[in-house]
Amino acid sequence: MTRRLVISLVGLLVVVLGSFAGNLVADNTPALGLDLQGGISVTQEPVGEYDSVSLDLAVERIRDRVDSLGVAEPEIIRQGDAIVVNLPGVDNQDEALRLVQVTGAVLLRPVLLAAPNTPADTSSTTVADGSSTTLANTASTTTTDGSSTTSPVTTLATSTTAPGGPSRYPSQAVTSVPTESSTTVAFSDVSTLATSITEAPLGAGSPTGSDVSTSSLAPATMGDPADPIATIIVQNTDGSEIYQLGPSFATGEVFNNDAKADIISGGWGVRVTLKGGSTGADLWNVGAAQCFARSTVCPTGRMAIVLDGVVQSAPNVNQPSFSGGVDITGSFKESEAKDLARVLKSGALPVRLEVQAVQIVSPTLGDDSLHAAIVSGLIGVLLVLLFMLVYYRLLAIVVVIGITLSGLVQWNVISLLSTTNGLALSLAGIAGIIVSIGVTVDSYVVFFEKLKDELKSGRTLKNSAERGFKSAWRTILAADIVSLIGAFTLWYLTVGSVRGFAFFLGLSTLCDIIIAWFFTRPAMLLLARTKRFQRGRIFGIDNTVNATGGTA
């Protein structure tokens, strides 16, 4: 029995102190929520029709974009359907809003020119950085040339074909699915639609697009990638190639929601079917015909599939008209093909995210709150410990060590989750922890009061400690389970700060249970056996009298 208690006590100490040291060595510290260090929080929710794949993809896209911004410890949380993006330390709200507003909308744009990215830029994955450094020149060339895109196209057209080696894209091709091709129908489609080209946003968009691009030659990007009629400069997913893209002639909605990666003629590719009629195949074929013919609208003959301002793939168009299905082939790896299929799928039914809440906390305000919470929290703990010391005298040592251990366990868990799961300590969380001190102390109070009862009924200290703990444990467990049920329900069903609070409440309740069993129990039972405690008067009850046989 004694050995078990010692093992439990030593085991807990080793685990707690060991993981504490481990966290210190790994330099894991709790990340602070933006209400404590200032920053921007944006909550978005999808509206209208969408499927969960597109929502997942949207979250990933946001994460990519936020990561590329280099925000320290961004927090991107799915709460039900809502997406909460917390950007601590960011203070430019326009930039933040632009960053998180992904649409999942896939635009099909003709490639005006393409060039391999310089190695320096390849290392930087930031979209904004890349376009500002390398493409500023290209963009200004366009400006000086006015709206005429021919001269840069011809100059850079060579560079498109020349660097074919390093880039895998020129080797990609779009071909029609052979089984479903019907040339006559396709031709008639093209001819009927040829007239509508002029009316389509494409025809009208060309000049407008270059207007937009010239007028908005901001240092960062030219043209807003989300604007379908703008001429834009963007990179591909790994930043290896950079493109100037014309106004889009269609969105990903021309495809059915059935894109899938498949092995097509010996290599990985993506096969997708077109929707029929004027919203599907017709639109697609207009663009395909232009690219196949290498008209001024699409001089490179390549069609870029763009998701949220990043080129996912820019295959060559190998035939003027498609019907039924489209195959995208090239030197894809399996994972790349799957990614592209997912993008096309999401583009077929894009998710429209609407900003529901924006919160901007100034750094000074956050700083003040943190300082206040920590200092007042610590003073609160000290007051409680002082009260325990006055009330339970020597036994308060057990409480002090217990609370310290509980604090360490929480620090460990929060630090670890901060690093691995992007958990951030919010003000509500700190408040939850401070409140839980009351509950933690209560376990001791329950135990000590039961111990007192047992002592009063004349039992020896050793016996009382065992019996007292047994009944106190039942009470503590019952009460803590209620707290856990509460914490879990709240965590599962709510959003925002309530959810954060619930997490920390649950965590501290679990700590309470663990500490009560692995620390308080062995510590008290062992203490109760020592001569020193048995001789002394604890709780102001003269247990020596009772212990020696109950004579008054």
Binding site: V358, L427, A431, S457, T494
Partner: protein
């Protein structure tokens, strides 16, 4: 040390410390119920007439917070709003003072992002501070509604789950009493917010939820004792009122201690955190918590337990003992001995003995009244 007259010699604090009080909680339950009834009526009245001062997180809207200065005051803030075509009739503009600094908080209904950004920059210019010093939060009204709905749904789920748990772990009567007491706490806390007109923020909701947890926690500790005592007094004909009273007196010190231990950090948050250091976010939280902790502790003693005793009295086992309950010395006796044997003998004696014997008999000491002596120590091997 002589233990003979311990009880009578001890002051009230001493008796509290030793768990030897003999307050007649059940007998005085009407006082507690009356107080709560008055509070609940006040709450409902205020809720229907004044309603709750809901923050933008629940109703949707935009809030700016800007450090105040000589050029930046409430009037200046209103002027900025008017310049941008934001209606000012429903705008809430208030000065928040904390310690040495003060700031102005402006809340209006839903605005477009452009207006939001423009007002932010103009406020910054007016106050002559960097734009980043101006905090902004904006919530669309649909989002606000869905947050409220989710919170209510969570609350209902929470009550159902906890009710099931208590019913399984203890019994359904306890579940009912505990949940009624919990509702009582929330209602009164909400009432305080409605009457004083504090703004309800997400922090407040968090605090209310904490109160629920705490109130339940406290109630369960008391009920655990009641359950213990029901088992202990099981064979004797002891009324439920007695059992409740005994349990209450036995856990009174624990309840007070726990409440104090929980209130101390919250007081520290309130007085130091928001008072001295001026963190407004902490104040909202701390006030709600303080109100809740106090009602929580109060309700587990004055509402939950008397309710339980009323529910339990309907059981056949306790039915014919209804209305009978020990008070004063008898109760003290039962509290200290924790058994019923002594109680009966005392009851008999008090009925037919004179004053002097009663006091003589009624100085129970722990050793003299040891109803079942501890078993001789056995070597236990585990």
């Amino acid at each position: 040390m002589s233990n003979e007259l311990v009880t009578s010699r001890r002051g009230i604090l001493g008796r509290l410390y030793h768990g030897e009080t003999s307050f007649d909680f059940v007998g005085k339950r009407k006082i507690g119920f009356a107080i709560s009834l008055i509070l609940i009526v006040l709450t409902l009245g205020s809720l229907f007439t004044r309603g709750l001062n809901l923050g933008i997180d629940f109703e949707g809207g935009v809030a700016w917070q800007v450090p105040s200065s000589q050029t930046m005051d409430v009037d200046a803030a209103r002027a900025v709003l008017e310049d941008n075509g934001v209606p000012t009739e429903n705008a809430k503009v208030q000065t928040l003072t904390n310690g040495s600094t003060s700031s102005i908080r402006i809340q209006v209904g839903d605005q477009t992002p452009e207006v939001r950004a423009k007002v932010q920059s103009e406020l910054a210019a007016m106050a002559n501070v960097d734009i980043n010093e101006v905090s902004v939060s904006s919530v669309s009204s649909s989002w606000g509604r869905s947050i409220t709905e989710k919170a209510v749904r969570a609350l209902i789920a929470f009550m159902v789950l906890v009710g099931i748990y208590i019913a399984w772990r203890f019994e359904w009567r306890m579940a009912l009493a505990a949940i009624l007491a919990m509702l009582h706490d929330v209602l009164i806390s909400v009432g305080v917010y409605s009457i004083i007109g504090f703004e309800v923020t997400p922090a407040t909701v968090v605090a209310f939820l904490t109160i629920l947890g705490f109130s339940l926690y406290d109630t369960i500790v008391v009920f655990d004792k009641v359950k213990d005592n029901i088992d202990k007094f099981g064979v004797s004909r002891t009324s439920m009122a007695d059992i409740t009273n005994v349990s209450m007196n036995q856990v009174l010190m624990r309840s007070l201690n726990t409440s104090l231990a929980a209130v101390l950090p919250v007081l520290s948050l309130l007085v130091l955190g928001s008072g001295v250091f001026g963190a407004i976010a902490l104040r909202e939280f701390a006030i709600a918590l303080l109100v809740g902790l106090i009602t929580g502790s109060y309700s587990s003693i004055y509402i939950a337990s008397p309710l339980l005793s009323i529910f339990k009295q309907r059981e056949t086992r306790y039915k014919n003992l209804k209305g009978v309950h020990a008070t004063g010395v008898e109760l003290a006796h039962m509290v200290i001995t924790g058994g019923a044997t002594g109680a009966k003998s005392i009851r008999r004696q008090t009925s037919d003995s004179d004053e002097s014997t009663q006091t003589n008999q009624a100085s129970p000491t722990s050793t003299a009244l040891l109803t079942h002596p501890p078993r001789p120590r056995k070597k236990r091997r585990r």
